[in-house]
């Protein structure tokens, strides 16, 4: 009895002390000591973008030693593997990367995150970050992470050369019959209508997700995710049928290519469109030296004003030693100047609506506008939804099976079972 009481009062005291420390720290007091930043961004544009945050945080906190401990691979799974063992061993880093939604919730359940609600309030972030995004990072009225930027997963990149050759023009909101007509025209000219590199199944899963969102709309998609709508609904079934048809329009070697191979094919013009997150933008611009508008354009399956979000967020470890350092880093991430610098390199949209996007690429300006004003839905493929991580895995596995057995029935049944079980 006595022990329990002490436990509670110690916890309460710590919570109050922390809130006091975090909430009342003078806005420009620089943090000292060391912090470790743990992410899965290790090379190319992602590393450059991360360095933009690190150098800004370093400049604002000259006496703070920032160690960049990143581990690449498995679309973040390698990093999660390392993180799991570190958490099990009680050796949490100060800052680590995660996805808002179910993944974040898993960490909250394990009680390893520092509550950032007070910082959100003192810095006024609630006013400038879209409310669905804040909601995806808030559990039991406490907000636990900050976003660096938001990618869009349902962009359809179109090869200008390919569509010119086929005599089609795809832009804005594209419905299935329009796309089908264009695809057949492209096929007639010897162009693969769809570029796909699905050695890693997420790229195909992403295409299906875009098709489902197109058929079900934003509210339908949210209903599918929270279990209030069955995956056996007409919209989903239509989308799956369309997906099966789309699989006959892809490049023959799609299983042997990863996503960069598909983007390369699009850049060459051997295929027509590629549904890919807008990290492809940087790939097209920098690696393939393509010009926005001249060599490629973009459209969207379904409503062009629906933005499927892929946010990257960072959290502060509760048991990490340097809490003040962690908070300082979080503040650097949300700094408008840093938001601009980061997203310029990363290709995503700044999460703050008060960041001027004038200096960003043409595509990014458009994306930021849709993010601010359009309908935002979380991507299941990229672990953004407020569902258990196992549901995302079940979705990916179901798409793998779907490609082999083409059964709409089995797919919808499996998804309903996964949502129900989790």
């Amino acid at each position: 009895m006595f022990k329990a009481k002490t436990k509670v009062s110690v916890a309460a005291f710590t919570a109050v002390a922390l809130a006091f420390a975090v909430g009342t720290a003078p806005a420009n007091a620089a943090a000292t000591g060391e912090i470790e930043v743990f992410s899965w961004w290790t090379s190319g544009s992602e590393d450059a973008a991360l360095q933009a945050i690190i150098s800004a945080a370093q400049a604002a906190n000259p006496d703070l030693k920032i160690t960049n401990a990143a581990v690449a691979g498995g679309a973040g799974t390698n990093a999660k593997q390392v993180l799991a063992t570190r958490l099990a061993g009680g050796d949490a880093p100060e800052i680590w990367q995660t996805h808002p939604g179910g993944e974040l919730q898993n960490y909250v359940e394990q009680d390893v995150l520092t509550d950032m609600t007070a910082v959100y309030e003192s810095e006024g972030w609630n006013k400038v970050v879209p409310k669905e995004l804040v909601a995806s990072m808030t559990f039991n009225k406490k907000t636990y992470s900050v976003l660096t930027g938001v990618h869009r997963a349902n962009t359809m990149w179109v090869s200008s050369a390919a569509q010119k050759k086929a005599g089609v023009s795809l832009s804005g909101s594209i419905n299935w019959s329009t796309f089908k007509a264009a695809a057949l025209k492209m096929k007639a000219k010897g162009i693969d209508p769809i570029c796909l590199g699905d050695k890693d199944i997420w790229t195909a899963a992403q295409l299906l997700e875009a098709l489902i969102v197109a058929e079900e709309g934003a509210s339908g998609w949210n209903a599918l995710l929270d279990g209030s709508k069955s995956w056996g609904s007409a919209g989903v079934k239509r989308a799956v049928k369309n997906f099966n048809e789309a699989m006959t329009w892809t490049n023959a070697d799609h299983k042997a290519l990863d996503w960069t191979g598909a983007v390369a094919a699009l850049a060459k013009g051997t295929c027509g469109v590629n549904v890919m997150g807008d990290w492809a933008y940087g790939e097209l611009l920098v690696k393939h030296n393509k010009v926005d508008g001249k060599d490629f354009t973009y459209a969207t399956f379904g409503d062009a004003n629906t933005f499927v979000t892929v946010g990257d967020s960072f959290v502060i470890g509760k048991t990490a030693k340097n809490q003040a350092g962690g908070v300082a880093f979080a503040k650097a991430i949300m700094d408008p100047k840093v938001q601009l610098a980061f997203n310029k390199l990363k290709g995503s949209a700044p999460v703050r609506s008060d960041v001027s996007t004038k200096t960003l690429g043409k595509y990014q300006q458009g994306a930021a506008k849709v993010l601010a004003n359009g309908k935002r839905v979380p991507s299941l493929v990229h672990g953004q939804a407020n569902v258990a991580a196992a549901v995302g895995q079940a979705y990916a596995d179901s798409v793998t099976l779907l490609q082999a057995n083409k059964s709409v029935e089995k797919f919808t049944k499996a998804m309903d079972a996964a949502i129900a079980a989790n």
């Binding site: 498995g74 799974t77 958490l87 099990a88 023959a252 070697d253 299983k255 042997a256 082999a404």
Partner: protein, 343 residues
Amino acid sequence: MSQVRGKSYPPVKRKKRGGDTKAALLLLPSFLIVSVFVYVFITYTIGVSLAENWMPAKPSMAQGPDPFATYKNLFENPRFQSDLRNSFIFTVLFLLLTVIAGFFIALAVHNMGRTKGFFRGVFLLPYALSFIVTGVVWRWLFNPDSGVNLFLKYSGVASAYKSITGEELRPEWLTSATTVGDISALLEKIIPGGQYIQVEMGIPLALIPVVIATSWQLLGFAMAMFLAGLVSIPEELREASMMDGATGSRYYRSIAVPMLAPIAITTLVILTHVALKIFDLIYAMSGSGIGFATDMPGIFVYESMYKALKYNTGAAASIVMLIIVCIVVVPYLIHSNRETNGR
């Protein structure tokens, strides 16, 4: 009577009991520390597999109402069924190719003169590469449009094939969704609970390029093992057998092969170990493949634990793999230990 370096010794019949116990004691430290790293950790893993909601920072071993539900769901999971099938087929094909080819290449290299070092180096070099990179390079090489199929095209083999059969010769390699020889019906009758089989139990053709890539990497090691054995065959034995009239293949069959048997066993065990745990190479080369054609238990454990955050499922899959290995490998090991003992 045996002679060692010119001295002759009568065979010793009496066993020194004291020496043997001492040997056991000297082996004990290794045995104990390996046991901790293996069996204590496995016991922990079994606990995780039976727990309801184990999490790294909240390692609760508390079990739900049906702790074995995790195992039941595992066997009914089409992905895990594919993994078991793939693991078995991959291991068998890989062992056959690597050990047999490794053996014959070792024999050939052993016979070479000045070029011995060159060949040894060339065949062993792939083993030096990291598995991840091997996977990527062979994925490129097996691309049906830009990889090794080009050799078929430009060497005239493809056109010859077309003129004979009237069909295009364009192997699909990793992009193939075909499974050859489905024995699900047979298995359903034999295995208890076989009615839950949901995948085609045959040979997924997409596994063949994976076998080739892994063999390419490990053949050099198998060759090195057999070379070590060949090099250790005392020269006198070879000369003595020559005197007895055994030349060429007769020598190999009656002298060399039996002497290489223990090395072959070692090679088989090590390569089985590699095959059952294969992960990096396949993950980089083909991922899980169409309809899980190339998925492996290692990948499943990795994704279950660290992507789906279902630690109990991943742990259960590991334990199942271990049990299967025990059932298959242990009798073989005991048998081979007895065979090679007391020489």
